[in-house]
Symmetry: C2
Subunit: 138 residues, 2 copies
DNA sequence: ACACTTTATCATATTAGCATGATAAAGACA
DNA sequence: TGTCTTTATCATGCTAATATGATAAAGTGT
């Protein structure tokens, strides 16, 4: 569903949201906890910081924090720098043009399903996933 | 959503369902009509034949026909030889174990969406997509 | 200024998906 | 049997995603 990279991004953001309360979280700690290759994760986090999802702090006591309040941070915002899911899910048969007017064979039946997926990413926030504050499996 | 290969497979099967009425359809014709690289398509069709979705006939007047009645042929059957969608969509965060009992952070909200996608592929048949017999965009 | 910690970035390797070109094998039919 | 048409398969190349290792740059505290 998600590319490996986008999945790493999502898990990392959830980890930051859960653990960076006050102090930022270091890459090494995250890479270790989430079993993600360290330098690869570093690049992903940097990209997320570039997009405003995270804030990076260098030097001693550096690391990453959320750049957006968790209840304002949608999964779409986390994932789109790595997977262009909106565009991917438009047409099941990959037609460049596929709409109600120029429908492919699958359009009528597929559009609701694709819509549900898009809505999920657009409407679900990081806060929704962390829920009541109980520790959560990432 | 689908890999390029699975998308080719689906379009090819729809093409066969629509055009192989009586005589089989040749690879070259299909590759041309669907703008799919010929030898690559050949391999995909061979794989579909191996899985019983298509039947291949060699020699003069050879080509491919459906191996299953269109109203019994689900999109899942067409696509799973190339994309293991069932497994892919289980857990958004990629956990090997993720169920109601061992839920990841996203499980509760994601499972309905993932279920809708899985149902679509399991329940939709080739006949559903071809519908009333009017020519259809593939 | 210096030492230390941490992120940023560069160079490169590995793998899988996608694709092409050439040749082999099978079947139809004169 | 021989020739033609068609699928089957082999060998190879290309590209992007994924990953690793080494080094540079930035910031903190003494």
């Amino acid at each position: 569903m998600l590319s490996q990279t986008a999945e790493y991004a999502l898990r990392a953001v959830l980890y930051v949201a859960e653990h960076a309360t006050g102090r930022p979280v270091r890459v090494a700690e995250m890479a270790d906890a989430l079993r993600i290759p360290r330098n690869y994760l570093s690049k992903i986090l940097h990209q997320l910081a570039h997009n405003g999802v995270l804030v990076s702090l260098r030097g001693k006591a550096g690391g990453f924090q959320l750049g957006v309040r968790p209840d304002r941070l949608t999964l779409s915002a986390v994932v789109t720098p790595f997977d262009r899911i909106e565009q991917q899910r438009r047409c099941l048969l990959g037609r460049p043009q596929c709409s109600d007017r120029t429908a492919c064979a699958a359009h009528e039946r597929w559009k609701d399903v694709a819509g549900a997926v898009a809505d999920f990413f657009r409407d679900t926030t990081v806060a929704d996933l962390l829920g009541n504050g109980a520790t959560v499996r990432i």
